[in-house]
């Protein structure tokens, strides 16, 4: 009977059956019916309900790419709808569920962040705000992890200069990040490795940079557990500096004599 209605039934039958399926939780079956109704009901008041149910059916069946798209469309078309708050939340949640893990393209993550942000601004009284906030923070942390891992990769592949720049940008862009301590720690390690392995002509400047990096860390995390290791590395920096000064003195005395 379903296929008969789907293929041959008139629009009113399809509408009726789609709604029944939707109410009964048969979302997968309701989708093709709703999709066939979108055209014929164009410009008619029923379309509001159809669009909402179609978006929700996609959401319920786990097709979040499409549910985010249809909820977005619903929000744009029916700003006055009684379902608008729910749609706004589900749209954001769809983007959240569609977004892949941190190491892949984060376009959906950014869309989810934007959608949750708008939701929180528009419906501050809603009981869903707590959840929205939680997701918002989770997504933000995901972006932080992405940037942190990229910067860390520069360190791991021994592109120290790139790592230092990337960690600097990280700390500028993600104020108060939970990765801040780690970021500053690796920023120092990169500066240290670069300085210790440096060619003579740039050594002095790079040793200074390592010291600055260390000072900055101490200022922010005076109690850190990493300090023990870092102090050890700083000793190396100081030793290298002493050696460098020795070398410079030797060269100077040579050229004087």
């Amino acid at each position: 009977e379903y296929h008969k209605v789907l293929n041959k039934g008139d629009n009113a039958d399809k509408y009726k059956m789609a709604e029944e399926m939707y109410d009964a939780g048969e979302y997968k079956k309701s989708i093709p019916l709703f999709e066939k109704l979108v055209g014929p009901y164009g410009g008619k008041p029923q379309l509001e309900r159809i669009q909402y149910m179609l978006a929700d059916a996609y959401y319920q069946t786990g097709n979040y790419e499409l549910s985010s798209y249809y909820f977005g469309k619903f929000i744009a078309n029916y700003p006055g709808s009684s379902k608008i708050e729910e749609a706004a939340y589900l749209s954001a949640h769809s983007y959240y569920l569609a977004a892949p893990k941190y190491s892949r393209d984060q376009t959906d993550t950014n869309k989810a962040l934007e959608a949750f942000q708008t939701y929180i601004t528009n419906y501050p009284e809603s009981e869903r705000v707590a959840d929205a906030n939680k997701y918002y923070q989770e997504l933000n942390a995901r972006l932080e992890k992405k940037d942190f891992e990229i910067a860390h990769q520069y360190y791991h592949t021994e592109h120290y200069n790139a790592a230092m720049t990337a960690f600097d940008i990280f700390n500028e862009e993600h104020l108060g990040s939970s990765y801040k301590e780690e970021a500053m720690y690796f920023r120092f390690k990169a500066a240290h490795d670069l300085a210790v392995k440096s060619v003579l002509s740039k050594k002095s400047e790079r040793l200074q940079e390592a010291k600055n990096s260390y000072d900055k860390f101490i200022k922010n995390f005076p109690e850190s557990e990493r300090l023990k290791e870092m102090n050890g590395l700083m000793e190396e920096v100081q030793r290298a500096e002493a050696e460098l000064n020795e070398q410079i003195r030797a060269i100077e005395s040579q050229s004087n004599s």
Binding site: G43, K44, P45, K146, M164, A166
Partner: protein
């Protein structure tokens, strides 16, 4: 929109019942109706009610929503709200007419009527005048579809669209008419008939140049790349006339003059005349002007590079014929990624904000002095580097291939290198990598975002076939962007765990007479620190003999081979970072049980091959590994076994073969070189030279019967068990240029002209013609490097990610096949998989 301009200013009359208070003309282009002007001051009203008339398919409620008017609201008449309501209705593009009337006035309350006329919709569309298959194609392209709103605009654009389409194909006299008539079965719907009269195809008969004395007619005709006369010598070129292309070609004529020093040359006039035989003549009058020379060239504003350095890049000496195009190319670039010009030299050294301008400072006595004015600005540092579009591949796999890194100076060539490296990965579409440079002028930094698109890279081969007198089943899986760490992570199975750039392949092949199993794995960045590749593979195969008495397979007569390879490869920094060194340790064990193999001197016994292989390669070819357009590939490969015979005191000369070859000893050297040269756009020349030599440590043992060279044919290695190296030489039957025992030295050169037909990610197709020669010899003493067996031919290659490379070549061998007196003649070769 025009609606705004055509809103007529009308005022309201206190005398009711019906007065036009605002109106929209029927179509955009008719002149607005002017209504009688009745003087009335603006007044505020309360909207008491709205009625809608004239609507047929669109509900009253929808129209009210479109208008944005709500009962009970305050409204000024005339006023903004009413105007905007009409505008909104108009913008919905559903109506051909919108009028608003005041129907009743009750004190301060006003009642309005919105009278609309809905636009007709397109019903059935019929296209006539072209072939049926073309009708289908065309009807998909058109915006003119059943259900579209039938506006004048739609009719006009559709007519133009179709006419242009056919004019581009040379049907210069194409006429399109669209007639509509109401569909009686549906409301407000009109059926349409699109009538296309292509007329005859118009070709160019003659192109005549007037007033040209310095450059010949032929030279100028040649300069017109796509506008050609209908003549025998233009048989491969189209002689149809296309307006846009003709305009471009006129510019090419001017360019041709400019290249030859005539910088003032212009086209004075050009005309087109029809002949009776569906051809046209083109008449082009030029004014050549004088021929100029380069005078003094001065550089201004350069501090980073000296005049001499810039002069070396410019490559123009005072006194040579003026060539505006060349000058521009040397200063601003010729549009290719490899262009070495002044602007790009600055861009490669961080000067993203630099500007290079050309100024002609004097033109006395036909000598043009040039000033190259340079504003260097400060070098730009790269700030943030991002990748978007990687839905499958993890960041770390992509970022490690990118040469522009935070904190580095901006460099255009680093971006080009990054695109090449990403394109080489095999799972990123090389033709679709877009770098977006986002400069920030205030702090002299720039962000760079690479937009990439993933492409399928897994290959599945499941086939059954009839070969060697028996059914052969093959199952082969290869995944090129595998993620081994997610092997046990169910969430990542989509349908296999992907995204870490590893590759894994499995192959099972079985028939009545053989079994082969193999597994291999490779990780291009072992440990993630350096591009140090690791690979590992194991395989096992068994061959069974046919028993002629029982007419069945006899599994007691068999050849078993097991093998394993472990290898490391890494990119070198010296001499440059296109170099790679790969080394591998290989083990192979052959066990023969009453098994006859033609190249072996024994039927029972065991041979072991433990060898170490080193491959020094340089690969700068790019951008795509499937269709390289530039660069080169070189490989020097040495394969050596330990010299067992030096350590033991065996009298090898008297030993039977199974003992002589129990532990194989040999050394083998291969050299291969390939060059890719772009001839013109998608036309690429591939030149290839190769050489191989197999030697023995101990003359008592002689050269190993394994690992030999077999030259001739399609180059595909199938059904051999002795580690032979099969070398393609098209135009000759497979392995026909080598003696039965196999060659110990070979060389080969070939030239292949390739032309890309399409390079879409779903399928890359190119056509090729080749010229090649090669030969193999049984011993180095006989080696005559110039005695080559020659061939020529043509073919086609199709690469589809799901199937790999497929191709067919038709080759003609000019020389004798050894052992016969006949020249090889035409041979057909089918190619499956990549050839080397």
């Amino acid at each position: 929109q025009q609606a705004q301009d055509s809103l007529s200013t009308t005022t309201i009359d206190t005398v009711l019942p019906v007065t036009v208070i605002d109106t929209i003309p029927k179509t955009n282009d008719t002149i607005p109706k002017t209504s009688e002007k009745i003087d009335l001051t603006k007044k505020n009203y309360i909207l008491g009610g709205i009625t809608v008339v004239g609507n047929e398919t669109i509900s009253e409620q929808s129209i009210l929503i479109f208008s944005g008017l709500v009962n009970g609201q305050a409204i000024k008449i005339p006023g903004d709200k009413l105007s905007s309501a009409i505008k909104k209705l108009w913008n919905s593009k559903l109506f051909s007419n919108v009028d608003v009337y005041a129907t009743k006035m009750d004190g301060n309350t006003i009642y309005l009527e919105i009278a609309v006329r809905e636009l007709s919709k397109v019903g059935k569309v019929e296209i006539k005048g072209i072939k049926k298959s073309k009708i289908e194609e065309l009807s998909k392209e058109l915006e003119f579809q059943p259900g579209s709103m039938l506006t004048e605009n739609l009719i006009t654009t559709t007519k133009n669209q179709i006419a242009d389409k056919y004019k581009e194909k040379g049907f210069l006299k194409t006429k399109v008419t669209i007639s509509t008539k109401p569909d009686t079965s549906a409301v407000n719907t009109e059926n349409a008939l699109i009538l296309i009269d292509k007329g005859e195809k118009i070709k160019i008969k003659e192109i005549t140049f007037h007033d040209n004395s310095m450059l010949s007619d032929n030279k100028l005709k040649k300069a017109m790349k796509k506008t050609k006369e209908k003549k025998i010598q233009n048989i491969f070129k189209s002689s149809k006339y296309i307006d846009d292309v003709y305009e471009e070609d006129l510019l090419k004529v001017v360019e041709k003059y400019q290249e030859n020093g005539f910088r003032d040359a212009i086209i004075v006039k050009d005309s087109l005349s029809f002949n009776d035989d569906n051809t046209i003549n083109l008449d082009i009058t030029v004014s050549e002007g004088q021929r100029y020379k380069f005078g003094e060239i001065t550089f201004l504003g350069n501090t980073v590079f000296t005049d001499q350095q810039l002069q070396n890049i410019l490559k123009i000496q005072p006194g040579v014929t003026y060539n505006g195009k060349f000058l521009n190319e040397r200063v601003k670039g010729d549009g290719t990624p490899e262009s070495q010009d002044i602007t790009n030299t600055y861009l490669d050294n961080g000067y993203l904000f630099s500007r290079v301008d050309l100024v002609e400072t004097g033109a006395d006595d036909n000598v043009i002095d040039i000033e190259v004015r340079i504003v260097e600005d400060e070098p730009a540092t790269i700030n943030k580097v991002t990748v978007v579009g990687n839905d499958v591949t993890n960041d770390h796999v992509l970022y490690r291939e990118i040469y522009t890194r935070p904190g580095d100076l901006f460099s255009r060539s680093d971006i080009i290198r990054s695109i090449r490296e990403l394109g080489q990965l095999g799972y990123i579409d090389p033709e679709n990598i877009v770098p977006d440079v986002q400069p920030n002028y205030t702090d002299k930094t720039t962000d760079i975002e690479y937009s990439v698109a993933e492409k399928g890279s897994s290959q599945v081969e499941l086939q059954g076939g009839y070969g060697g007198g028996a059914f052969v089943g093959t199952l082969a899986l290869s995944f090129n962007n595998f993620s081994i760490k997610n092997l046990f992570n169910i969430d990542e199975y989509k349908p296999v765990p992907r995204g870490d750039g590893q590759s894994i392949s499995l192959r099972l092949q079985a028939s009545r007479f053989s079994r082969t199993y193999s597994v291999s794995f490779s990780e291009p960045w072992w440990g993630g620190k350096r591009p140090k590749g690791f690979n590992f593979s194991v395989y096992s195969s068994s061959q069974y003999a046919f028993d002629f008495q029982s007419r069945d397979v006899d599994k007691d007569q068999r050849l078993d081979i097991i093998g394993a390879t472990i290898g490391l490869s890494q990119r070198l920094k010296w001499p440059d970072d296109f170099f790679t060194l790969s080394t591998s340790l290989n083990f192979q064990r052959f066990v023969l049980n009453d098994f006859f193999l033609s190249t072996f001197g024994y039927n029972n016994g065991t041979s072991n091959n433990i060898n170490f292989t080193a491959n020094l390669g340089r690969n700068s070819a790019g951008p795509s590994p499937i269709y390289p357009r530039y660069g080169s590939q070189f490989n020097v490969i040495a394969e050596v076994t330990p010299p067992y015979s030096s350590f033991n005191d065996k009298e090898y000369i008297n030993l039977p073969d199974e003992e002589k070859f129990e532990w194989l000893e040999y050394y083998k050297i291969n050299f291969m070189g390939r060059w890719f040269t772009q001839i013109y756009k998608d036309l690429i020349l591939m030149s290839n030279a190769e050489f191989g030599f197999l030697g023995a440590y101990n003359q008592d043992i002689g050269v190993s019967p394994f690992e030999r060279f077999y030259v001739g044919g399609d180059g595909m290695a199938t059904g051999q068990f002795d580690g032979r190296q099969v070398i393609a030489l098209r135009g000759y039957p497979n392995s026909s240029l080598t003696s039965f025992a196999g060659g110990t030295v070979y060389n080969k050169i070939s030239f292949e002209l390739r032309y890309a037909i399409t390079l879409k990610p779903s399928a890359s197709i190119y056509a090729l013609t080749f010229l090649e020669g090669g030969n193999s010899f049984d011993s180095f003493k006989e080696f005559k490097p110039f005695e080559l067996k020659r061939s020529a031919g043509a073919g086609i290659r199709v690469f589809m990610p799901a199937f790999g490379l497929l191709g067919i070549d038709f080759g003609y061998g000019f020389d004798d096949i050894p052992g016969t007196d006949e020249i090889s003649g035409w041979q057909t070769h089918f190619i499956i998989g990549q050839q080397f």
